[in-house]
């Protein structure tokens, strides 16, 4: 019998290593964002469970999913990923999109990366108008579109 709490713990551990964050710059890792956004309660996580994505990965890694002491670090995880490329690719394909969407739309991540998290249309941007000097070389050219007799 799979312990779902344990499975979720392993899931969080792995995604935290996939996007590790940067504590010095205050950028959170993906695990904390998935917890923060209640990913466990989403249809996307349910779909991962239904498709046994984590089980299949751990099976490939030859690690029993109910083992209480699974504790990956970056080196051990990516060494295994390198060794079992096919299984890792399947896992990353299944997890990648929901992970990226949650992570890169989370206000805490955006702010830590210097990106304004408010709706784009509300912010707008002040941008410099065209400096026509830049166009001078082009403006010096004669018209070069192809003339057509009837025109």
């Amino acid at each position: 019998m799979i312990n779902e709490d344990n499975e979720y713990k392993i899931f969080i551990q792995i995604v935290s290593l996939m996007i590790p964050g940067d504590p010095l710059k205050g950028v959170p890792d993906a695990g904390s964002i998935m917890v923060d956004s209640h990913f466990r309660a989403t249809p996307e996580y349910e779909s991962l469970l239904l498709n046994r994505e984590l089980e299949k990965l751990l099976e490939a890694f030859k690690i029993p999913i109910d083992s209480p002491d699974i504790n990956f670090d970056a080196k051990s995880l990516f060494d295994l990923a390198n060794e079992y490329k096919h299984a890792w690719r399947s896992w990353a394909k299944a997890v990648g999109e929901p992970l990226i969407i949650r992570y890169y739309s989370h206000p805490r991540v955006l702010v830590s990366l210097g990106i304004d998290p408010s709706p784009p249309a509300h912010q707008g941007r002040v941008m410099a108008p065209l400096d026509s000097k830049l166009l001078e070389p082009v403006m010096r050219r004669k018209p070069f579109f192809r003339k057509v007799t009837s025109d």
Binding site: L17, M18, I19, P20, G21, D22, V27, A74, L77, F78, A81, A92, G96, E97, I100, I101, Y103, Y104, S105, P107, L110, L113, I115, P117, S118, P119, P120, A121, H122, Q123, G124, R125, V126, M127, A128, P129, L130, D131, L134, L135, P137, V138, M139, R141, K142, P143, F144, F145, R146, K147, V148, S150, D151
Partner: protein, 531 residues
């Protein structure tokens, strides 16, 4: 009694025809399978805008699967169809890049021995181009040596740091570039705010700065008397015993079948939807579908295969700041050059980067952003330091590239889905290779440390042309130069399915100019009938 014109489709072409016809006093009814968009619900007004862009505002109808959408089997095509079904059509989600076709685009057969000549010239279309620009609202800059003179443009959208960087690269090579022609207003108009450079135009514009039929043509046409029936999907066009079309059958908003009589029918359902309806309207008199005695309905599908190039710079270039699709374009390689190994040419269009989610997903999928150590650094590099450019290649007509009706797949009303049969031709492949290499040269000249390229881009099948082409010869074309069916004089087609060739630029302004001209053709026809 007032004659009734029924228009199928409320996108760029249908709106222009409706506007044209309402000025002459004819009764106009437009049937649109989608609905009005709630402007306040466009993604750019929400914090989760990128999620919406991936789902209900996805460019693929096969992903959106909204009630207004019908499935399209593009599984055997390297390019997937991109569209939007609703009032405004695909312009609701377009990037508003708005360059015109060139004079040579109308005479490719005469000039280069490829494609087909159009039954009219660039010069014949100028008045419609200008009228369309005035109604829509277009920004850009006059004096472009790549074009005949243009006028009445609003100030161009800003280049931004990204645009300035790339422009310097073009200058270094001595190649043409010009600020983008954009269907974006940079000065406010009644009920429309000037662009605030927020970025994601291609998810719908909350401020109505992006010029689109629902905020330009339609308000005027409706106030002049046009009736627009939304959530109304046309399945067939029916005809009388003389072979003239006499109306359309459609499913109304409750899914009930309705027949609507018409004196003239104008199709404006795009390069996929229009042949679908014609082919689905077969009868004993027209066993191969309506207007299809030439067997050209559905054939000659042209897409504009896109090549994609990016360059990573060593300084921040604010990749994501400004209107996403409108920075600058180059037409250095637009016209045929006998020294190259392909006919015709292409446009280089500089794009701004996507949002954080789009950037990260693309980076992961292309293997440019790793998982684990280095992930964040690679993301930041792609988000802030990367410039993008696309190669818009001219696609030549090929009768084997076509739309047919699917044998088993249908929409929710049981109407057969379209199936796409498409392969890139050798000329287009050589052109794309040339364009990708030139675009990389620009990136390097502009200072890029690294470049990468690929093509064709799969989800870029926006430009749907050629599937009911116009021409003077009824054995080789579906409609004449006024969009009028050779077979059935009271059946017209106004969308880009009638383009004989594709040009090498985005077709939107040319499509609308042609639609205004078709509108005039409809008026002439109706006046002729009356007299």
């Amino acid at each position: 009694m007032t004659k009734t014109a029924v228009i199928v489709g409320a996108g760029p072409a249908g709106a222009a025809v409706a506007w044209q016809l309402t000025r002459t006093g004819y009764k106009v009814i437009c049937l649109e399978q989608g609905d009005y968009s709630d402007v306040s619900g466009f993604p750019a007004g929400s914090v989760d805008w990128e999620l919406k862009k991936l789902k209900e505002f996805n460019v693929s109808p096969n992903t959106r699967k909204l009630p207004a959408d019908y499935p399209i089997d593009d599984s055997e095509s390297p390019i997937a169809v991109a569209n939007f079904n609703g009032v405004g059509g695909s312009m609701v989600l377009y990037s508003a890049h708005f360059p015109r076709f060139h004079p040579s685009d109308f005479k490719t057969k005469s000039l280069d021995g490829v494609g087909e000549d159009w039954p009219f010239s660039y010069e014949d279309l100028i008045e419609y181009f200008d009228l369309n620009d005035a109604i829509m609202g277009v920004s850009g800059l006059e004096g472009d040596p790549a074009y005949p003179p243009l006028k009445n443009l609003m100030p161009p959208v800003p280049l931004g740091k990204l645009g300035v960087t790339i422009a310097k690269g073009f200058n270094k090579l001595g190649w043409h570039w010009w600020p983008a022609y954009s269907a974006i207003i940079t000065k406010s108009r009644p009920n429309r705010l000037a662009c605030n450079n927020c970025g994601p135009c291609n998810t719908g514009c909350v401020r109505k700065s992006k010029s689109s039929p629902e905020n330009t043509y339609w308000p005027e046409a409706i106030s002049a008397g046009a009736e627009l029936r939304v959530n109304s999907r046309v399945s067939r066009i029916f005809h009388d015993e003389n072979g003239l079309v006499s109306g359309v059958t459609y499913f109304d908003s409750e899914g009930k079948t309705q027949n609507l009589n018409a004196d003239v029918v104008i199709l404006a359902a795009n390069g996929i939807g229009t042949p679908r309806i014609l082919l689905n309207s077969e009868s004993a008199s027209y066993p191969n579908g309506l207007a299809n005695s030439s067997d050209q309905v559905g054939r000659n599908l042209m897409f504009h295969p896109y090549g994609y190039v990016d360059g990573v710079f060593d300084e921040i270039i604010d990749s994501f700041e400004g209107p996403q699709g409108c920075v600058l374009l180059s037409q250095e390689f637009y016209e045929t050059d006998q020294s190259r190994d392909f006919d015709r040419g292409y446009t280089l269009q500089v794009l701004r980067g996507g949002g954080p989610v789009e950037t990260a997903l693309a980076g992961i999928n292309r293997g440019l952003i790793p998982w684990g150590d280095g992930h964040l650094d690679a993301f930041v590099k792609r988000f802030r330091y990367t410039a993008n450019m696309v190669v818009i290649t001219e696609d030549l007509p090929d009768p084997e590239n076509r739309v047919t009706l699917h044998e088993s797949l249908t929409d929710q009303h049981g109407i057969p889905a379209p199936k796409i049969h498409y392969a890139m031709g050798g000329n287009t492949k050589r052109m794309m290779a040339h364009g990708l290499n030139r675009a990389r040269e620009v990136m390097v000249a502009a200072g890029a440390e690294k470049t990468s390229a690929f093509g064709p881009v799969r989800y870029a099948g926006w430009h749907l042309m050629g599937t009911a082409r116009m021409g003077a010869d009824p054995t080789k074309s579906v409609v004449n130069g006024w969009g009028q069916s050779h077979d059935i004089p009271n059946l017209f087609i106004a969308d880009s399915s009638i383009f004989p060739t594709s040009g090498g630029v985005n077709p939107a302004p040319t499509q609308q100019a042609v639609a205004l001209r078709v509108g005039e053709g409809v008026v002439r026809y109706l006046q002729g009938v009356e007299s």
